[in-house]
Every structure is written in C-alpha cells, then in structure tokens.
Symmetry: C2
Subunit: 404 residues, 2 copies
Amino acid sequence: MRILVQKFGGTSVADIDRLNMVREKVMAALDRGYKVVVVLSARAGKTNKLLAQAARWADEPDPAEVDSLLSTGEQASVTLFSMLLKGHGIKARSVLGWQIPITTDDAFGSARIHSIDGDHLRRMLETYDVLVVAGFQGVTEDGRITTLGRGGSDTSAVALAAALGSCECEIYTDVDGVYTTDPNLCSTARKLDRICYDEMLEMASMGAKVLQIRSVEFAKKYNVPVHVRSTFNNNPGTMVVQEDPAMEAVLVSGIAYDKDQALISLTGVPDRPGISATLFTPLAKEGIVVDMIIQTASRNGRADMAFTVPRKSLEKTVKLMESLHDIIDNQGIETSAKVSKVSVIGVGMRNHTGVASKAFDALSKENINILMISTSEIKISCLIEEKYTELAVSTLHDVFELGK
Amino acid sequence: MRILVQKFGGTSVADIDRLNMVREKVMAALDRGYKVVVVLSARAGKTNKLLAQAARWADEPDPAEVDSLLSTGEQASVTLFSMLLKGHGIKARSVLGWQIPITTDDAFGSARIHSIDGDHLRRMLETYDVLVVAGFQGVTEDGRITTLGRGGSDTSAVALAAALGSCECEIYTDVDGVYTTDPNLCSTARKLDRICYDEMLEMASMGAKVLQIRSVEFAKKYNVPVHVRSTFNNNPGTMVVQEDPAMEAVLVSGIAYDKDQALISLTGVPDRPGISATLFTPLAKEGIVVDMIIQTASRNGRADMAFTVPRKSLEKTVKLMESLHDIIDNQGIETSAKVSKVSVIGVGMRNHTGVASKAFDALSKENINILMISTSEIKISCLIEEKYTELAVSTLHDVFELGK
C-alpha cells in the first residue's frame, strides 16, 4: 500500500472553489496509485473567531475547554470535505484526532504528540481510499481533546506521515515553496529546490512562515521528506530533506529576518557569579522567551548586559527588571522596540570560513550598525535597527549571490 | 451522591444573558446539595445552519459526516458554558458523547442509544460538581459520531438520568410546562401539574412540542420523573410521571392537534387479500410514515382506501401510488393537503364510556365534518378540514371542561 500524506491550510479550505482545487490534488494522487491521507486545518480565521468567542465567556477560559472548542473548526473542515469527496464517488471518510487516536500530553493549547495508532489508520485505508484527518488536534490518555498550537496541522501531517511510513508528506500552502529570502522584501529572491531540515529550522524560527518549527523537528527526527508546494498550481515546490554532501557545496541557502524583536540593555551590572541566573530565571518563569544575549567585558567590576525578547513581552520584561533592581543593582536600563534580526543561513558554512566577515563587511558598507551578533554552526544573526531590515536583507542576498 | 439532570434547549443557550440564567438554575441546584449533570443543545438555528452548509457541499451528504458536523454545535455549547461556570468558580467540565461514552446503533441522523457508561460519569462527579454534557450525540461501537434526531437532547437527558439513577430530570424550555392544549389556539388552555407518560406520548406525537417522543418512551421505560419547566422563571412546571390511580379520575387530560397531515384516497380498490401489503410495503420502504388508515366496506368487489402521511411526503406518495396503479388496479386517486388531526387524550377514558360520542357530538354541533376517525385506549383522533382546527380544539377543550 503506497500512502501519500497531503496537508492543506486554512486558506485552501476557505470555500468550495478552493476545496475543489484540493479535491483535484487528491484525485491526482489517487490516479498515481496512492492511498491518500489528507490533513486539513480549520477555515482561515475560524480559530481566531472561536478564541474571541471564548474570551467573551470567561476572562481566563479553561484551556481544556478552549481546545475542545477550537477542535470544532477542523471537525467542520474534514466532515465537509469528506462529503465533497463522497459526492464525487471517492471512498472517503473523516477522521478526528481521538478516532485514530493521536495521543498527546495534556499541555492544552500546545500539546505534544506521544503516539499515533498507524495500524488503525492502515486498517481504515483497506476500506477507504482517502482519509480526511483533522489537523491540529489530539487527545490525552484520559480522553480529553487537545490542540497542538498554532500551525499544528503541519505537525499533524508530518507525524502522520512518520506513523504511516509514508514516502512523502506534501504541505500545500499559498506560496510556491521556500525562498532564499522573503520575496516581498527582495525582488531577486529565488525558490529553493531543496533545503535540509536544519536550515529549514533556522529559516522557520526566523519568520519564514511556510512551515511550523515543530513539524520540521518532527520531520528531521523521523526523516520524513516534506514537499512544500502551492495549492494553486502544479509547480514543484521545495523538498525539505536530510542533509546530503551536495548541499554543503552551497555556502549559504537563505537570508531570514525577524522583526518581532525588542532589545533590553542593563547598564552597570555588578560582575559577580550568578547574576545571569538572577536575571533570566524570573523571565523563564513568566514564559518570556529570551533570544539573543550579550555581556560586555567588565570595567571597574561592572558590565553591560543586553538581550532580546519578543516585542509583546517588552513591557512585562521591563517591569520585571525594575522589580529586580535592588537585587541586580544595575545602574540603568535602556530599551528599544525598533530592532530586527537578520540571519544568514546555510549548512555549507560549517566547512567554510569567511562567511561572517563577508556579512559584516557588506552591512558595514551600507552603514548598517550591528547591535548584537549571535552565531551557530549554520547561522549568523545580526541585530540591527528595524528601519534597515529591507536593505540588510537584499544586501546579504546579493553578496552571497542567492538570486542566481 | 444526589444527582440532578437539567436539560436546556437551543433558545436557552442563544447568548450570554440566557446562559447566565441557566447558570443560576445550575447554581441553585448545587445550593440544594446536588451534583448536576447539565445537558445542552446547540444554539437555536445552529443545526439548521450546519445542515444547509452540508447541502451546499454534496447533493446527498454522507449521513455519518453530517452527524460529525452537526455534533460540533453541541460541542460549542458545552465548552463555552463550562468556561462560564469555571469563570464563576464552579468545578465543571464539558463531556462529549464519545467521552462518556453514550453508545448508539449506526443509524446516523436518528441513532438509538444502546448504553451509557454511568459509572464513568459517577467517577467524574467525584472530581467535578457539574458535568456539562453535549446532548443529541452519541458514538457507535466503532467510534463514529452519531446524532439522535431532532430534539434528541431530551432523550440524552432522560437517558442520562436513567443511567445515573437521578431522582429527577428537569427539562427546561421556553414554555411553563405541558398545557391542556395549545395556548396560542385556545385562551382557556391550562397548565397541567401532572401528566402520565402515555398521555404525554400522545400529546407529543400530536405536535405538543415540549418533549421529544423518544425521550418520553425512555422516561416511561426507566421510570424517570421528568419535570418540564421554564428557563425564564422559577414556577413549578409539569411533572411527567408514571400513571397512578388518581389520574384515572380525570377523564380527559388534553386536546392535541397536528396540522402536518395530508390525505390520500384511493377509490375502487379491488377487495382482495394482500392489497394492504401491496400498498403500504413500498411506502414503508421509502420511509414514508403512514398515520391514519381507513378502508370502506367493499361494494361490488371494490372498496375505497384512505390514509394520511406527513405533508412533505404527499408528492412522493402520490407518485408511488401512480407507479403501483397497474398492480393495485384502483379506479381513482384523490388527495388533500388541507387536513389536520385533532385528538382527545386521557388515561381516564380507559374506564369510561361516552368520551367518543361526546366529542363527535360537539364537533357535529359546530358543523365540523369528520373525515376519518382513529382511536386507541387513551385517545380519540379525528381528521378534519384544516380550516376548522382552531374551532375544533376550543370546542373540545370546552366540552371536556379542561379550562377549569
């Protein structure tokens, strides 16, 4: 039995015209001899609408109830699409998370998948040619509905592909694939034919929104090839796959950016052991995600510390820092919400030197000041003033010849 | 553990104001020391909206998919109401049909309950003070969602009360209880304090829409006292209970009517054995519910046969009769969609004579022609021209002194 997993997002299930496009993709796969597992999201906007509804009913709606409410969005998508398929003579049925089951932990709102009963799905595929599975949802061991967090349908699709030993997981979206950078920002952006999981992870975490990060982690863990492609044409998209030697020949694969950054600088922090823990433990407890961190060299026993957080967390972070002032004993606090992070990404840089200096040089030639730098094996990130984002992206895109 | 089941219909869950009224009913029951099982319907109009949506997706939507789609209506009601209760500090959670489970057969759209895991619910009630259960829905043995048919939430509530050994099942509605007849038709209609199951069954099947018939059958079978009362005040409503000797002292309990009747008369049908089967078996196969049937005495080897069906089935029935013409060999066919059925109901008439003649006499005095008569132990029904419905109802209501 050859099984293909196809996932379609919220804009693809918005109306009958769109879903007839989806139906054609499914029928084409059937024609190619596959049994198809279709994973659908809720209609675009539906999840937000349900969340707004919940907010009217309680100040802090119970997360378990919210998840059960949200799951109705996907339930509507899969039942309606199954009707459509059956109306076209296709042996199809809808399958909800608990019907498989896709068991998860009980972290309502951002649950993690524990297991998927792939054997049950395979038995169903003996009766049906198409299973239309509700994305984004799972069920706890004791039978309560959970959701996997924003974009969780990508994770559902990849996890199903892994559980089924599917040859490939197609993620249909409203873009043609993964680009060397954001085409809205840089006219020479080019679609990539292939990208490896690690690069995709860096791209995804930097705001390249075609795939949810967790789905890429899942794909990497179970080595599921993911084909990111468009619902609206038949062009080949981008294959997200395991790294292979050919990829390392390419120095840089893409330029990503993230405008959701805010900078907090604490000046004159006493340079003593444990100060970092004093600072960052309370932030972690409040669920504030710290991204970049730098600490200057100590002068007269005091140093400056700077770090970035998502912009929505800025206010809360500042309050927290102020409340810790007596303990930290810093001399001042400075903030900026107008910063962004620009990153050069590529597995090839593992084996090449000079990528960082080339990037810094290019930015410097454009008079773009670098506020912070952080590097990993396959990524160099620079924090800059937000107004230079577009310029920095296209400069880096050009200097690494990504448009060619 | 004292458990009370309270069921609220679609108009009671329409908005937050209404659901705060529901919340007050629930909290009053908690104050009286009960654990409460609240059964909710979908918001008024929601089920119709979803059905209309399904109709846009397929000419004949798959019934299993339709049920899974429809069940989202109740799922939204119970999750939102649970949030509301939790927001008021009440230990509450939502429970879907499959989470209990309420197992049913696989007659999607009108499934019948096989069993309810009352022990599971009792265990949940050790943790929670209120369980908010989705009405109208169940699940097949192999895990597909079913619905119980229109008004099925009443049945859910009574079945839950039976499974839990609840002392009473309160059905909240937008009327004060069960009336001697339709107050909109007859100004002297009076609310009944008590009515027995059999009378309620006859009233319900005749269009007294306060309770779904199947729920009354269930209540009778398991001897669950049902209290029909209003969401919008605290007045005692009508208790639907087992028959007791005191009830038989009352000759007639109510007058019901049903305008959803159409009459088909076949004239000159050969009077030979098996003719009824020839006629009615095909109707049953098409799912057409025949109500009243009469056959005139045979004359010259031919008789007239007349029967009634729901109005929506008239056209289909006539076509079927025409297609059977060569087999039935009837001389003609006459129809009328403008008829209605008026019924006098009361367990007391079992032990009294003269109820029928009194009814016929009263109608005759008003010059209302009786087209057909059917009787049971506790009911006399007359088919009349629809335009006389109001007159017939108030005449019968008066002659049996029900307004007093």
